[in-house]
């Protein structure tokens, strides 16, 4: 083939290929169908902030944010169709008051500065979309502009708030544990806001006006919170109530109060709550009123009658040599007021109060009168109170109880608070009072015996012992192991147990009580037991004294060869008898 003919052939082939490509494009173009658009009605404008009805104080900077969405619909000649998101062209904000921060009112997010005039204001957001129709399509995607408005309230006046309790300058009694025992201080306030209303009132306390502690919030009138002062310091406190209105504006009120610790305390006190025994009750543990202490109805100074029985000395003025049953008592008012008054009073003459442990004609505090008042504004009276506060002695005289009450009164004479001790006689009536030598002997072996909380119910004898008395017998002695021939001295192991010459609770003592009384060691403790057994081979029997001592859990013990005594259930715990290890019923 010639060179020319070859060139013609190549040219011809290129023309043919180009034509084929053009034809292919034409065929493809002819295959895509034309769409017809419509705007539909889905163009939506939303204001996210501020919300409708929101309230703002004058001048508040209010963040405004909004958004818009749009979907357009299309169809084709062959019956096809669908929707597509459209773009938003622009946002514009309008208001009928206030200003736009930095003059910026366009865009999805702007800041509105509330006007200085209270009132109802409208904020409007307007937006528009674009016509995003592809070339060749028919119809329209250009919606009309959309808008949304919200109404907001602008408040020009903060709420009013008034603390109604406690009163400004009030003296208040500090509470005591446990929490929630009803001695909390009520904090109360009134609050109002006619424009936007009260959202809440919060209560705070502070001792330095800097650090405030929130005590509670209330959203409904009457606004109230409780202040648990159990562990609070005494002294001056600031109490503040803060009210919030709907626009976030606040109003507050502050009062100054003084918190006093008022406490009448005694050594040797036993706290009856839950049968908890506390010899000296810490302030933080004291319940009030209702703390019981015993007093001796038959005080003794060692004097005895012809039969050796103690002679009551509660009618003696003293000083009484050897007096040892007055009970130390302490008054505490903290902080010490320099105005107002402090009153110590008694419920009846069953109790007397002296300023010396051995009494004395000129040392009567509550002897001939039922109350003693110290005027704290008077320096000399205040000094007298300070001298007496830690040096009072209570004395019982007569059957029954008497309440001793310490009261603090504010300068206006109002009662700030009080603390009371209920004195009650105990045990003495169930047996006879121990003679001095007996008291020395038994108290020496059992240091927990508190004078007048125990009495002697049987004389010393070796005819029977504690185990015998625990089953109500007075002519038997029960030894752990050994019997003595010809006598009523019986070895429990030998006669009731397994006779292995070893005293064992399970195999010896339990059979003993089961055989004697039917008791089994199933009682849970002193309160439901009939017999308590101690680790040091001692048994005590439940004593049903319904007199003064009836308030206590009493037991009766024959103390070896010594006297039989009535005592509180725990007073024989210690080195002589060991601890209580078994309870029978």
């Amino acid at each position: 083939m010639s060179r020319l003919s070859r060139r013609v052939a190549v040219m011809w082939a290129g023309i043919s290929l180009s034509c084929a490509c053009i034809l292919a494009v034409q065929v493809a173009w002819s295959c895509q169908l034309k769409k017809t658009w419509s705007v539909d009605d889905s163009f939506t404008v939303t204001i996210n902030q501020p919300q409708y009805g929101a309230k703002f104080p004058c001048g508040a900077e209010v963040a405004c944010s909004g958004s818009a969405t749009d979907k357009d619909r299309w169809t084709t000649e062959d019956g096809g169709g669908g929707t597509a998101d459209d773009s938003i062209a622009w946002y514009a904000w309008e208001k009928n008051g206030g200003t736009w921060k930095n003059g910026v009112s366009g865009g999805a997010n702007v800041t509105w500065i509330a006007p200085d005039t209270a009132g109802l204001y409208a904020i409007t957001l307007t937006a528009d979309d674009v016509d995003g129709r592809p070339p060749g399509d028919e119809g329209s995607r250009d919606d009309a502009v959309g808008s949304k408005s919200v109404a907001v309230t602008v408040d020009a006046t903060p709420p009013t708030c008034e603390l109604t309790a406690p009163q400004d300058g009030a003296w208040l009694k500090k509470g005591h544990p446990p929490s929630g025992n009803g001695d909390e201080i009520a904090l109360r306030a009134t609050a109002s806001d006619p424009e936007t209303g009260i959202i809440k009132v919060a209560f705070y306390v502070s001792q330095d006006y800097v650090n405030w502690s929130l005590k509670g919030e209330d959203t409904a009138s009457p606004y109230e919170a409780m202040w648990d002062t159990d562990y609070s310091n005494t002294g001056v406190w600031y109490v503040m109530a803060v009210a919030w209105n709907g626009a976030g504006m606040t109003g507050s009120d502050v009062h100054t109060i003084t918190l006093f610790h008022i406490d009448l305390q005694t050594n040797g006190l036993r706290w009856l709550e839950g049968n908890v025994q506390v010899i000296t009750v810490a302030d933080s543990e004291e319940d009030s009123p209702g703390a019981f202490i015993h007093y001796n109805k038959d005080n003794d100074n060692g004097n005895v009658d012809d039969e050796g029985n103690p002679i009551a000395d509660c009618t003696e003025t003293g000083p009484v040599n050897g007096e040892n049953d007055t009970i130390h008592m302490i008054m505490t008012i903290d902080p010490l007021p320099t105005s107002g008054s402090i009153v110590l009073s008694r419920g009846n003459s069953n109790a007397k109060v002296w300023s010396a442990s051995d009494k004395g004609a000129d040392r009567g505090v509550l002897v001939g009168s039922s109350s003693r008042t110290w005027n704290m504004a008077d320096p000399s009276d205040r000094a007298n109170y300070q001298a007496c506060a830690g040096a009072l002695w209570a004395e019982g005289c007569g059957d029954g109880s008497s309440t001793l009450t310490l009261t603090l009164k504010d300068p206006g004479g109002g009662t700030v608070g009080w603390d009371a001790l209920l004195h009650t006689y105990i045990a003495a009536l169930c047996g006879r009072q121990p003679k001095p030598a007996e008291r020395t002997s038994l108290s020496g072996s059992f240091p927990k015996l508190v004078h007048c909380e125990w009495s002697i119910t049987g004389e010393a004898t070796d005819a029977y012992n504690c185990i015998a008395w625990s089953v109500g017998e007075t002519s038997w002695r029960y030894h752990p192991v050994a019997s003595v021939p010809g006598t009523n001295i019986i070895g429990i192991d030998q006669e009731y147990g397994n006779h292995n010459s070893v005293f064992e609770l399970d195999s010896d003592l339990d059979p003993f009580y089961q055989t004697k009384t039917g008791y089994t060691p199933t009682a849970s403790g002193p309160s439901d037991a009939q017999v308590m057994y101690y680790s040091g081979y001692h048994a005590a029997r439940r004593k049903g004294c319904s007199d003064g001592a009836g308030k206590w859990i009493m037991y009766e013990s024959k103390c070896g060869d010594a006297e039989r005594i009535e005592h509180l259930y725990d007073q024989l715990d210690g080195s002589t008898y060991g601890s209580r290890v078994r309870y029978y019923k």
Partner: protein
């Protein structure tokens, strides 16, 4: 007479004392005879009263708060040992006093060497039953029988039967021995022993018939006062000399009627 007179003249004061003494002695003997209390028995009572009082004081001095102290400490005192040493004659007073003081029962036990057999049956609490071999009617369910009651019955019911009980046991013992039943013989010997010292008169009466095999029993009941290898004659001679310590007054001489004794007891004091 002259000499008597001279003598009497020169020794008038002495004679007067002697006469008064004789009158007094006769009066006392008459009184004692009437009241049934020999002079020595009065001494026993006084000695017992004195020793018992001292023993009570001693026991009081032991006063302790503990109930698990050794109970034998109460008996480790000279006063108690003196009571024991008074022997069988003190038993009437001890048995009377034990009703007030069960601890004294150990003295009766020690003196009398009587062994009452108290037994507990069953092994489970509340099923226990205590019985006494010597008093079959006793049946206690809460504990061993009261020792005071046992001594009272021992004294009033059991004591009069001791001789008969011994004779029966002795007869059975001899039979068991002759038949070679050593176990039975041993048991019967123990039973004779448990009769206590109140059986001594009967035992010695038996020995006096020539049965010296019972001499060891006497020796045991008298804490070795009589040797075990004595002849029957030696045993009888020993008994004649020492029986006052081992017998009650009525066993030593014609016994007065108890009613008379009781009626006149206050006057004797």
């Amino acid at each position: 007479m002259g000499r008597w007179h001279e003598v009497s003249t020169s020794r008038r004061p002495i004679r007067l004392v002697l006469v008064l003494g004789m009158v007094t002695a006769v009066s006392i003997l008459t009184f004692c005879r009437y009241t049934g209390t020999s002079a020595s028995q009065q001494d026993v009572e006084a000695l017992f009263t004195q020793a018992y009082r001292e023993w009570i004081d001693y026991r009081s001095s032991l006063k302790t708060m503990r109930s698990d102290v050794d109970p034998m400490v109460a008996f480790d005192h000279n006063s108690f040992r003196r009571i024991i040493a008074l022997g069988v004659p003190v038993l009437p007073y001890a048995v009377a006093q034990v009703q007030e003081d069960h601890v004294l029962g150990y003295a009766i036990y020690k003196i009398s060497k009587a062994r009452l057999h108290v037994r507990r049956s069953a092994t489970r609490p509340r099923e226990y039953v205590w019985t006494v071999d010597e008093f079959p009617d006793i049946r206690e369910t809460h504990g061993p029988p009261d020792s005071r009651l046992l001594w009272k019955r021992w004294w009033t019911e059991y004591r009069p039967t001791v001789r008969a009980r011994f004779e029966e046991l002795h007869r059975e013992w001899r039979l068991a021995r002759s038949e070679g039943k050593s176990a039975d013989a041993e048991r019967l010997y123990a039973a004779m022993h448990d009769l206590g010292v109140l059986a001594l008169p009967a035992i010695l009466a038996t020995i006096s018939t020539g049965e010296r095999d019972l001499a060891p029993l006497v020796s045991e009941l008298t804490d070795g006062a009589l040797k075990t290898d004595v002849t029957a004659e030696q045993a009888v001679a020993w008994w004649a000399k020492n029986k006052a310590r081992w017998t009650l007054p009525e066993q030593q001489s014609p016994a007065p009627a108890p009613e008379t004794k009781e009626e006149t007891a206050p006057a004797a004091q």
